[in-house]
Amino acid sequence: MSRETIELVVFRYNPETDCEPAYQRYQIPYHHDWLVLDALNYVKDHLDRSLSYRWSCHMAVCGSCGMMINGEPTLTCKAFVRDYADSIRIEPLANFPVERDLIVNQDDFMSKLASVKPYIIDTDDVPLSEGEELQTPAELAVFDQYTGCINCLLCYSACPQYSLSADFIGPAALTLAHRYNIDSRDDGFRQREERVGSDDGVWQCSFVGACSEVCPKGVDPAAAIQQGKITSAAHYFKKHLMPWSDS
């Protein structure tokens, strides 16, 4: 069975002229080896130059081409048109404000990400002249999987708690907080815990698990957050039951 053409049903919204979004249909040629991103690029190059969307690397590294394909948060550069029926619905990532067409506003995520200090906080006073801080393969293996995050926001788009609770820090940022907390070179747990262990942090997660199902990089945010809850709870009980301890 060979297909000649397929149809894209694309979410359109122009803040300068539209009050409401609308869906526009495009007939495009079918190619067995096309990604959904290639199909969008065909529309942009040949049919409608006004269509706006983000993309860059075309190889699931930059994390900028995430969209809803038939309602599922997906990297359009990681989804082949051949895996879909003859009509493919493409919408901007759910749970984010739409700037224009398929482009969402990421400001909320960016500020939340910064708030959990996703970088190594090294407070010991070893001078640089003492050389680099070495790490064993076992110490690397502890957090290695979580370094795969490309901030594509698919997990936020899949997370019901992010859509229900405006202040929830959300999967990727909490995962990155955990990634640094468990890094043997890092001493920043307590600085992050104020945010991570708050009602807006891990405790707003109800373990739907959708984040891990849609993650294109196998990062498994749900695992990071559950393990973060255990760490945070241990810290809480130590602080309240053993106030004399140094935590």
Partner: protein
């Protein structure tokens, strides 16, 4: 005219109907209703026990009445769904590492299922006459 970024509203009560993973989540969460209700049934049993043999056997009869059996049936289905979903995601919360080796998720889940089986057999063994 510039209306600015478009904020799409979700339905607070119906969002979970939209995808099968959300429906499964909601069923999983609502199993707790039956865990809690069964605990209250046990409390009623203890209360009837304190009133003597006749009251206690009336409680048992109520548990085995058609309405009681219907409740038990739904509660058992809910409890089984709770057990399966709980053990399946246990590896996310429990990460066991020995050096660079990570214990596979299937081993962690499998250990929970084995424990479930053992505990169930143990309870049946202890209660047998």
């Amino acid at each position: 005219m510039n209306t600015g970024p478009l904020v799409r509203q979700i339905s607070r009560r119906q969002w979970w109907l939209g995808a099968s993973r959300y429906r499964r989540y909601m069923v999983r969460e609502l199993t707790s209703l039956f865990i809690g209700a069964f605990a209250f049934a046990l409390i009623v049993g203890l209360w009837r026990l304190s009133q003597g043999a006749q009251a206690f056997s009336a409680w048992l009869d109520a548990m085995h009445s058609p309405a009681g059996l219907a409740f038990n049936g739904i509660a058992l289905a809910a409890a089984l769904y709770h057990s399966v979903t709980w053990f399946n995601v246990a590896p996310k919360a429990i990460s066991v590492r020995i050096g660079t080796f990570k214990l596979p998720d299937s081993i962690i889940s499998g250990a929970h299922y084995a424990g479930w089986l053992l505990v169930s057999i143990l309870v049946l063994y202890l209660v047998r006459v």
